[in-house]
């Protein structure tokens, strides 16, 4: 299952935090900053999977392959779009490549809702950001991966606002994202 979904920008400022377990606020912040430290130093050619941050690694080191440890978060997947990092922390029951596609759908859905989405849209409408995620994951289990259905579900909750005028431009440049797109057509 999925343990957490995080979005933060190039400076490490959170734009969305969603933990599917109850966690102390300070621990949440530490985890975010640990993951940011890991992700910020990666070159663009590197793969989209992070080693476990120290907070998570310390407790999972002791696991042996024989004992079932599927409950343990073991995979940190990320994608980088323009100014934003999208992070998914999950257990080994999720497929790593499929999670990359999942993030892609998430961003595409946001793009569909905001029309050429950019970081500002997400700052000012973080409730919509949560709603979109809520249409895709409930309680750490993925419930929807089809773009249209996600967008439809969010729109059913009410009109999605555009960002206030005069607040900047430039989107997440969907056209340019997804280094692996040429290699596999996901979903």
């Amino acid at each position: 299952m999925i343990n957490a979904v995080l979005v933060f920008n190039n400076a490490g400022q959170p734009r969305l935090t969603k933990f599917y377990t109850q966690l102390e606020t300070s621990v949440q912040q530490r985890l975010i900053s640990e993951i940011f430290t890991l992700v910020a130093n990666r070159p663009n050619s590197a793969c989209n999977f992070l080693p476990l941050p120290p907070l998570l690694a310390s407790s999972s080191k002791s696991s042996t392959p024989t004992t079932p440890h599927n409950d343990m978060p073991s995979l940190v997947t990320y994608r980088h779009y323009a100014t934003l990092y999208f992070i998914v922390i999950s257990t080994s029951t999720e497929s790593p490549l499929a999670l990359l596609d999942f993030i892609q759908v998430f961003v595409q859905a946001l793009d569909g809702l905001f029309e050429n989405v950019c970081e500002l849209d997400l700052i000012f409408n973080f409730e919509t950001l949560h709603a979109t995620l809520g249409e895709m994951i409930v309680g750490g289990v993925v419930i929807e991966t089809q773009l249209e259905k996600v967008v439809e579900g969010v729109k059913a909750q009410g009109k999605v606002a555009k960002r206030p005028v005069n607040e900047g431009k430039g989107g997440l440049s969907l056209a340019g994202f997804g280094r692996g797109d040429g290699v596999w057509a996901g979903r």
Binding site: T21, S26, T37, S45, N48, T93, L97, V138, A161
Partner: protein, 1075 residues
């Protein structure tokens, strides 16, 4: 849908639509704008804003409340606590407006924690919203429940959730399925009523495909816990796999089948065709990958092994995985392929070993994630043939990459230093351009992160020491590797506190781990003991410190603790005892960590004993002078340490100080013989007494836990004081302490500094050969070769030089070994060379006899390769040389410690893996509760397990009833006492009421426990109605006893609910204990 336009107006625009009544009221939009306008003073601005929110949230205007909540939720994202607002969250939740509800539910999800107390009050609201006629409203609790659920609440909302499984809206159905799953995680009983309904949804072919997909996701999560329960579903799941067009669902199905096939081998034949079809046809790489991974993990490869189609499948899978590894430009595929290999390396080691070439390449991948995976993988696939190659590669990496300096590390760690300051700055459009360009500063490889470095070193040690060095064929090589590892050790972080007292071992101190290995080899492998001591000696020598240890930082110094012990314990092996002694007594030694210093103190007399203890040599004036001088130096070193803050150091220093003073007296008191005259006896204290302290039975490795098996002698008396006069002695010692302090001061000023000359000597003890040792070449370019690393690439020059000399010595008489220099023509001794030289005159090719062919065959590799490379080719032959490795000694049969003694060989290095679930990981959602619950009552497959579980449950329940009854009795007594006390002080009415209430509630809880146990054991569901009635009665009794007053109907309601909750929780707890 149900919303009118203006209602759905987003909050961001809120203030522009309605002019707020209060001029100072801020919308979320204002807050964010404000943050951006207060760059540099965000903290003050946020504090101010939270203050405003506190005010706004108390107002009666629901809009205002909701806005404040929204702002708080936004700030919570940056770590600003909003737990104080949890009650207000509930208030807004109860608003009739959807927009308010949505805000409140989001706030609840983001801010409620395990200890949030208002949760019980939320229950009613949740139930109400679940049964709402509006789908969007239903979605809110469905999304929130997984975040806030606890067992008692689960029990309560379950009955409202179940009907939602048949809601007309597919979106509601799929969310309900998932919510029920999360309910089951905290309250496994959920599945009893829920699973049949979920299964019905799954079997229904007319069900909306998205709902089916969601159910498959849940089944997959449940599946690995209890695969046997899902076998009956296999036909339906198979249909979905074959017909369903949803890749995400197909991936989940394949993962599920991989857990089912071991239980039902017939599935394999069914699965193979569709899986190979997918592999060949799909365009989705993720699906392709999961197919392969499923085939391998599900044991399908093993099952079809030997058949022609099996061969084909194996070739297909491994071929594709290999393709992923070598494909250009997609690091992700490389990563997941390594992941797949890692999963099978233990079961299919040969399959993985065939891909060794591409896997080893990944060890040097620039991407740290890939390196880590590859590192994990190679540890699993190491054997005696590839050990040297793998370790060589890792060593090369460690050696060539610079060690990160502390300042680098800190600057990277922005988050921890400053914390995240919330401001939204990103409207400067060049923020997009400013993506880190990641310029390579130089040709040097990027510095390795410290934890990676530590992890590599530990892995190397782990690989080499596995199964008590089963994989090592050449221990001299291993010793060289260890010495080299010291040089590449990263600095330890705990250097600030060297007086660590008794804390076990710092995880980041690899120096100690390396030291332990050195010690292990020295003790276990007698045949290389002298070489090991040689290595320890070189580590201890102060004048070689710069060369043997990392240039910067204090990395690897932990090894000295063990090297110090080795030079002391095996002092007879020392080739240069005098310099070793000088190093031990060096002033810098006193700066070492107290642990190491204590070891040094023990080593000093040992080395001294070996230097002075010879009774065959006459006590000449020369010897006498030497010994006196040596002892004076030791005394000089020990004296300041006798007041060392560390007790261990202090004690040893005091003991040996006295011993040395005695010895010095004895030495000066014994008259020396004539230089060339008769044999003069050296003092017995030096030749007999001191050596006798340290000689005796040889040390052997002892298994962990063996000590515990030593029986306690019957006559051992631990109670009688050894000295009844202890108290007086101590006070006397206090008195003495003053005196000795003065002594020290006096001595410091008056005694001649006998050993000052020895420090001046120190440089002169450097041997010529040591001075000739060139520093490691700095500009050595990292080899781009994908061949195995040659020793030049990972061992430093001085180590190599020694190896070469050793090798030359060893192979002088080996006809198969052709020395590089010998070949140059100087001193050829090989038969071939001799023949060639003998026939030198006319170089008759025919004269080269047939044996030449044999030679070529035997040493083919060596002729065209430099001798250093010969190692790898030599290894099969080297195995013939038996190296005896001493195993652990233990007492009696290794019964309970079977596993620990098996691992004992490396127990010092790698902590034994924690069995079971010791510590729960952060973020982890524990699903172990599910494993005790069978899902399918009517299915044959499930019933076997079920009966077993029933029996277990019954036992548990019996125990539970017992415990509950005891508890009831205890509480009854307690309450009785309480009421007596209350009667005593009749005037404090408020207090009395409170006490009474609590007492009453507690009693009800206890009774509820008892009844639940009985009910579950007996008639089950039929009991429920009766139970409730009984409970009500009891509760009334309780009220009567405790309070004796009248109470409104509403309060009765609350009590009933509380009681129910408590009861459920205790039942669940009981189950957990039974597992």
């Amino acid at each position: 849908m149900f919303l009118s336009r203006d209602r759905s107006c987003p909050l961001a625009l809120h203030s522009t639509v309605h002019e707020p009544a209060n001029m100072f009221e801020k919308s979320l939009y204002d807050l964010i704008r404000g943050l951006r306008n207060h760059k540099g003073s965000e903290k003050e601005y946020i504090t101010e804003s939270i203050k405003e929110c506190r005010k706004e949230i108390r107002s009666n205007d629901m809009d205002l409340k909701a806005t404040a909540l929204m702002k708080l939720t936004y700030l919570e994202m940056f770590g600003h606590d909003m737990s104080w607002a949890s009650f207000n969250v509930l208030e807004v939740m109860s608003s009739p407006k959807y927009r308010h509800k949505r805000t409140a539910y989001l706030a609840a999800v983001q801010s409620f924690r395990r200890d949030t107390e208002v949760l019980m009050l939320a229950e009613n609201q949740l139930k109400k919203d679940i049964t709402s006629p509006t789908p969007t409203v239903i979605s809110l609790p469905l999304g929130a429940i997984p975040h806030v659920i606890n067992p008692s609440m689960a029990n309560s909302v379950l009955s409202d959730l179940l009907p939602r499984l048949t809601h007309s809206h597919p979106a509601i159905r799929k969310k309900t399925v998932v919510t029920l799953y999360r309910l089951a995680l905290v309250y496994p009983e959920t599945l009893r009523p829920a699973w049949p309904k979920i299964k019905e949804r799954l079997q229904d072919e007319n069900e909306d495909p998205t709902v089916t997909a969601a159910i498959v996701n849940v089944v997959c999560e449940l599946g690995w816990r209890r695969p046997q329960d899902f076998l009956p579903l296999a036909p339906r799941l198979f249909d979905l796999l074959v017909t369903g067009g949803n890749n995400w669902m197909a991936i989940k199905l394949i993962k599920l089948f991989a857990t089912l096939t071991p239980l039902e081998p017939r599935l394999i034949k069914k699965l193979l065709p569709p899986l190979t079809k997918i592999i060949r046809e799909t365009s989705a790489m993720s699906l392709l990958y999961e197919c392969i991974s499923g085939i391998i993990q599900g044991g399908i490869l093993d099952a079809v092994e030997g058949t022609p189609e099996g061969e084909e499948v194996a070739r297909l899978c491994v071929g594709k995985l290999r393709g992923m590894m070598v494909i250009e430009g997609d690091a992700n595929l490389k990563y997941v392929a390594l992941l797949a290999f890692e999963k099978i390396v233990r079961s299919h080691r040969n399959l993985v070993s065939k891909q060794q070439d591409v896997i080893l390449e990944c060890i040097d991948d620039p991407d740290i994630s890939i390196r880590m995976r590859a590192l994990d993988l190679v540890v699993g696939m190491v054997n005696s043939d590839n050990l040297t190659a793998i370790v060589g590669r890792l060593m090369r990496q460690l050696r060539n990459a610079p060690i990160v300096s502390a300042t680098d590390d800190l600057s990277n760690d922005r988050g921890r230093m400053t914390g995240v300051v919330p401001y939204a700055e990103s409207d400067d459009s060049d923020a997009e351009e400013s993506l880190r360009p990641h310029e390579q500063k130089s040709d040097l490889p990027p510095p390795l992160p410290e934890d990676y470095r530590v992890s590599v070193i530990r892995r190397i040690l782990e690989m080499c020491s596995r199964d008590t060095y089963a994989n090592i064929t050449d221990f001299e090589w291993y010793i060289d590797v260890l010495v080299q590892l010291v040089r590449v050790s990263p600095a330890t972080k705990s250097s600030a506190a060297p007086d660590d007292g008794d804390d076990v071992d710092q995880p980041d101190d690899v120096g100690r781990a390396i030291g332990q290995e050195l010690r292990n080899v020295a003790v276990r492998v007698k045949s290389v003991r002298s070489e090991t001591i040689e290595a320890a000696q070189s580590l201890v020598l102060v004048d070689r410190r710069d060369q043997m240890f990392p240039a910067s930082g204090n990395g690897g110094l932990g090894v000295l603790e063990y090297a110090g012990w080795l030079v002391g314990e095996y002092a007879v092996y020392l080739t240069r005892p005098e310099p070793v002694m000088t190093s031990l007594l060096h002033t810098s030694s006193a700066q070492l960590s107290s642990k190491t210093l204590a070891v040094y103190l023990q080593a000093v007399p040992k080395v001294f004993a070996s230097m002075s203890g010879n009774d065959q040599v006459s006590w000449t004036p020369e010897r006498k002078t030497l010994m006196t001088l040596l002892m004076a130096r030791i005394v000089h070193f020990l004296e300041p340490l006798s007041t060392h803050p560390n007790l261990e150091v202090q004690e040893r220093a005091v003991e040996y100080l006295e011993l040395m003073r005695l010895a010095a007296e004895a030495a000066s008191g014994t008259a020396a013989g004539e230089p060339h005259g008769d044999f003069a006896d050296p003092p017995l204290l030096l030749t007999q007494a001191i050596p006798a302290l340290f000689s005796g039975a040889e040390l052997n490795p002892v298994a962990r836990g063996a000590q515990r098996k030593v029986p306690v002698p019957e006559d051992l008396d631990l109670d009688t004081p050894i000295n009844p006069n202890l108290h007086n002695l101590l006070s006397q010692a206090d008195f003495d302490a003053y005196q000795s302090d003065e002594d020290d001061v006096y001595a410091a000023y008056t005694e001649p500094i006998a050993s000052s000359s020895s420090h001046a000597d120190a440089p002169s003890t450097t041997t010529a050969s040591a001075r000739l040792d060139a520093p490691p070449p700095k500009d050595k370019e990292p080899s781009s070769s994908y061949q195995n690393a040659t020793e030049e690439e990972y061992l430093d020059a001085d180590i190599l030089a020694r190896r070469k000399a050793d090798r030359k010595e060893r192979y002088r008489d080996d006809p198969f070994y052709i020395d590089a220099e010998a070949r140059a023509g100087s001193a050829a001794v090989t038969p071939l060379a001799r023949i060639v030289r003998e026939n030198n005159v006319e170089l008759d090719i025919d004269a080269i006899p047939v044996m030449d062919l044999d030679l070529e065959k035997g040493s083919g590799d060596h002729n065209d390769q430099p001798p250093v490379r010969a190692r790898s080719a030599r290894s099969p032959r080297r195995k013939a040389r038996r190296v005896e490795i001493v195993g652990d000694e233990t007492l009696g049969a290794s019964d309970a410690d079977a596993d620990s003694s098996a691992a004992a060989g490396r127990a010092d290095i790698v902590p034994p893996p924690q069995m079971g679930r010791g510590k729960k990981s952060l973020l982890e959602v524990d699903s172990s509760g599910l494993s005790a619950l069978a899902l399918d009552d009517e299915d044959a497959a499930g019933s076997r397990a079920l009966s077993h579980i029933h029996a277990q449950q019954r036992q548990t329940e019996d125990a539970l009833v017992q415990r509950a009854l005891q508890e009831v009795e205890r509480l009854r007594l307690e309450m009785q006492r309480a009421s007596e006390r209350l009667e005593a002080r009749g005037e404090e009415r408020v207090v009395r009421r409170k006490g009474g209430k609590r007492g009453a509630r507690r009693v009800v809880v206890g009774m509820g426990d008892a009844r639940e146990g009985v009910g579950a054991e007996g008639e089950g569901e039929a009991m429920v109605g009766m139970k409730k009635k009984k409970k009500k009665k009891i509760k009334k009794d309780g009220d009567g006893d405790g309070e004796g007053g009248e109470r409104g109907e509403g309060e009765v309601e609350v009590t009933v609910k509380k009681k129910k909750k408590k009861k459920r929780r205790s039942v669940v707890m009981g189950e957990a204990e039974a597992e």
